[in-house]
């Protein structure tokens, strides 16, 4: 058991000492993200995900065919209503006729090509980047240069999803790895705090525990554990929520367009289309700017000036460093037994984690709230009042 304990502590310290580049070469979520969002990934195995939405032509043809059938049925109903003198049927036909015309317009717009879709997402993402840059994260280069090729279309959509995936997965593992490394160091402090010098021959004398007061370090680690675990869970959850959205919500779009062609399923179809617009288009586009800031700070040794709050709130250490560089510094300072500066550095890491976690969580919440509000609005516009009236999604969220 003692041997296992030292192996665990050594593993944690080893992770800490390996550094950013090494760890990221091992924990490489590029494979995971490329599986899901890369051009060579598994997206090609699912035929409804093409490089352009308008390549799925037969759905467009089926939808227009259904609308044509509905027009024919409406014409027959109008004839029956006019011939038998049933005003209710005449009113119904006039209403449905306008709805069917709107359906045709919507089908043409939605299937008008990925350029329309990706153009909207690129615009929203770049607008968010501009806002973040003006708030102080100047000089940060996003993972994906959006809009560089306006005709790329679908590739920009993949780029946004891939960028968010890589950032959040890397952030999650770096948080956990950094905390594990810090915990390895806290083992040392726990051992040191338990060091006792007994000068009590025959039961009389003094007993000294010179390092018993190193409890603040342990308290900080205790505070960090549930926080970091929660942030890691949220980030993983967001990534795989986006996987679900990326792969399954286009199917909802197709189903929604088909269902909206019939009067009795029009509201349900509008709901599905609103879900697609809200979460496939707006959610990743809104969350993307927040990931650019996080990515920038992880890859840079110096995050000062990159936070909206500025660097002055960070402790007496000159900069707030990324976790792995921070832990390398700590490891060196343990050897030098510089207790006071270690405390400051640990507190820096604590502040860094809090700020980073808060920023990311706020980014997720803000993106979710805006997407949800837009979803409600589009659902109401598309004739699906049930989502809004019952606050169903609010309960779900």
């Amino acid at each position: 058991m003692i041997v296992k304990n030292f192996v665990l502590a050594a593993f944690a310290l080893l992770m800490a000492l390996t550094g950013t580049a090494h760890a990221q070469s091992i924990i490489n979520f590029a494979n995971t993200c490329s599986y899901f969002f890369g051009q060579g990934g598994i997206a090609g195995s699912f035929p409804w995900l093409g490089p352009n939405f308008d390549s799925y032509g037969f759905v467009l043809q089926v939808a227009l065919l259904i609308v044509a059938m509905v027009f024919a049925a409406l014409a027959i109903m109008y004839a029956v209503g006019y011939g038998f003198g049933i005003p209710r049927i005449l009113v119904f036909v006039k209403t449905e006729y306008l709805e069917s015309v709107l359906n045709i317009i919507m089908i043409v717009v939605l299937f008008g090509g990925a350029a329309v879709l990706s153009g909207g997402m690129v615009f929203i993402s770049n607008l968010g980047n501009a806002v973040i840059a003006s708030a102080g994260a100047a000089g940060s280069a996003p993972l994906v240069a959006l809009g560089a090729n306006p005709t790329a279309g679908y590739q920009d959509i993949q780029g946004i999803y891939s960028s968010v995936c890589q950032t959040y997965m890397s952030d999650a593992v770096s948080h956990l790895a950094g905390l594990s490394g810090l915990n390895g160091i806290s083992y040392g402090y726990s051992i040191a705090s338990g060091f006792v010098i007994n000068l009590m021959p025959n039961g009389m004398g003094i007993s000294i525990a010179p390092l018993a007061g190193i409890t603040p370090y342990l308290l900080l680690v205790g505070f960090l554990s549930p926080l970091v675990s929660g942030v890691v869970g949220i980030e993983i959850g967001v990534v795989f929520f986006m996987v679900i959205v990326y792969y399954l919500f286009p199917l909802l779009l197709f189903a929604g367009v088909l269902m909206r062609s019939f009067p009795w399923t029009r509201a349900a179809g509008g709901t599905l289309i609103a879900l697609f617009i809200g979460f496939y288009i707006f959610f990743p586009a809104l969350i993307y700017p927040f990931t650019t800031v996080n990515y920038h700070c992880l890859e840079q040794a110096d995050c000062s000036g990159q936070y909206i709050l500025g660097s002055s709130s960070i402790g007496s250490a000159a900069t707030a460093q990324d976790p792995f560089t921070q832990l390398q510094t700590l490891a060196g300072e343990v050897a030098q037994a510089a207790v006071q500066s270690e405390f400051v550095d640990i507190f820096d890491f604590y502040i860094f984690s809090i700020i980073n976690a808060t920023f990311q969580i706020f980014g997720i919440i803000i993106s979710f709230v805006i997407s949800y509000s837009l979803l409600e609005g589009f659902a109401d516009l598309l004739g699906a009042p049930s989502l809004q009236a019952r606050d169903m999604l609010k309960k779900v969220v």
Binding site: M1, I2, N5, L8, F11, A12, L14, M15, T18, I26, N28, F29, T32, Y35, I42, F46, A172, L176, A177, L179, S180, S190, I191, F195, V196, I197, M200, P201, N202, G203, S207, V221, G222, L224, P226, V228, S229, V232, G233, I236, F240, V243, I244, L248, L251, L252, W264, T265, R266, A267, A268, T271, L272, A384, S386, R390, M392, L393, K395, V396
Partner: protein, 348 residues
């Protein structure tokens, strides 16, 4: 967990379902009889209204005849629709979309234990396919919880304590140095424990979905004809419409959504097996980079946790939201507004 293929041994295709699986021969006579009765009554009133001098009764009778004819038209349409649901095999369509575990999987050659537990290509209807997909997903998650997270949690959750003592003079007690340590759990262990608890709780929701899928076929077979017949009569028209919407929502839309969503997830699980992590644990990797295999396992744990969260939390919420929206809006169109999830929350 029961194999869904066995549970569907009494499916309609084998002819055991009887009345429930014969929407036309089973329920059509009842609907026809109801229509005949209403038409006779309405015709009688239509004929007697001039004698009685009540023109509004003539209008009422005409309206009732139109509504009854429309309801009978719905009976014909939905009977044919139900026949299609029972007889059309969805496997070819879903296979083309690569949503059927066991056939044309995204990654071939993955050991069955980590991907497909039941070959879903053998089912013949949408209900069997949806149960097979959800069963495969649940089996993967349960297997993962039992083997990977459980083992890792036990490994990391050891909280040993030890004490070293050095005596300056063994003959004198309490005269020396002592060093003691009791270790708390690693953050990774706390993370894994929390994940195990969360997924272990969420898997219950997934099992509830499986039970609901069992009932979906019955709900469709019973409530749809009931609703259609009820809609013929004026006083039960709203109720009948609500039953039709409920039957279509739970009995058809729900299994279709489960087939699509969980079929996709199981195919993804087939790709994200822990084989990369297992392959990384070899002598060369351990000697050259001891952290590599462990970090590769962490990588795989993250992926599995993400898939598990998506399948046990996100997908049920999306599925039930869409099904409930369909029920609400369709019931409003054909009868009385019905909110399925509100009923559940009221009971809860």
């Amino acid at each position: 967990m029961l194999d869904p293929i066995l549970m569907f041994a009494a499916s309609c295709s084998s002819g055991v379902g009887g009345l429930l699986c014969s929407p036309i021969t089973g329920w059509f006579p009842f609907a026809s009889l109801g229509v005949l009765v209403i038409m006779l009554i309405a015709s009688l009133i239509y004929g007697l209204s001039p004698i009685m001098g009540r023109s509004e009764m003539r209008t009422w009778a005409r309206l009732k005849m139109y509504e009854t004819l429309f309801s009978f038209l719905l009976v014909i349409i939905f009977s044919g629709f139900a026949l299609m649901v029972y007889t059309i095999n969805p496997i070819p369509l879903f296979t083309n979309l690569n949503l059927v575990p066991g056939a044309g999987s995204v990654a071939a050659g993955i050991p069955a234990v980590w991907g497909v537990h039941s070959d879903c290509t053998q089912v013949t209807d949408i209900y069997g396919l949806s149960e097979c997909d959800l069963f495969n997903f649940n089996s993967n998650i349960v297997y993962y919880l039992n083997n990977v997270i459980g083992g890792a949690t036990i490994l990391f959750s050891s909280t040993p304590s030890f004490q070293l003592k050095y005596s300056f003079n063994p003959a004198i007690s309490n005269f020396g140095l002592s060093l003691g340590l009791t270790l708390d759990s690693l953050p990774i262990a706390e993370f894994l424990e929390g994940s195990t608890l969360a997924i272990g709780s969420l898997i219950i929701l997934s099992q509830v979905q499986l039970l609901l899928l069992d009932a979906a076929m019955l709900i469709f077979a019973i409530l749809l004809p009931l609703g259609l017949v009820a809609r013929i009569f004026g006083i039960t028209r709203s109720f009948g419409g609500a039953m039709i919407a409920f039957a279509l929502g739970i009995g058809l839309i729900f299994p279709i959504m489960v087939s699509i969503t969980y079929g996709f997830l199981v195919q993804v699980l087939s790709v994200l097996a822990v084989q990369p992590a297992i392959n990384a644990i070899n002598a060369v990797a351990l000697l050259s980079d001891p952290t590599g295999p462990v970090l590769a396992i962490v990588n795989s744990v993250f992926e599995w946790l993400g898939i598990a969260l998506a399948g046990t939390l996100v997908l049920p919420l999306i599925t039930f939201t869409i099904v409930n929206t369909f029920i609400i809006d369709f019931s409003q169109a054909v009868g009385e507004r019905m909110d399925f999830l509100s009923l559940l929350t009221s009971v809860a």
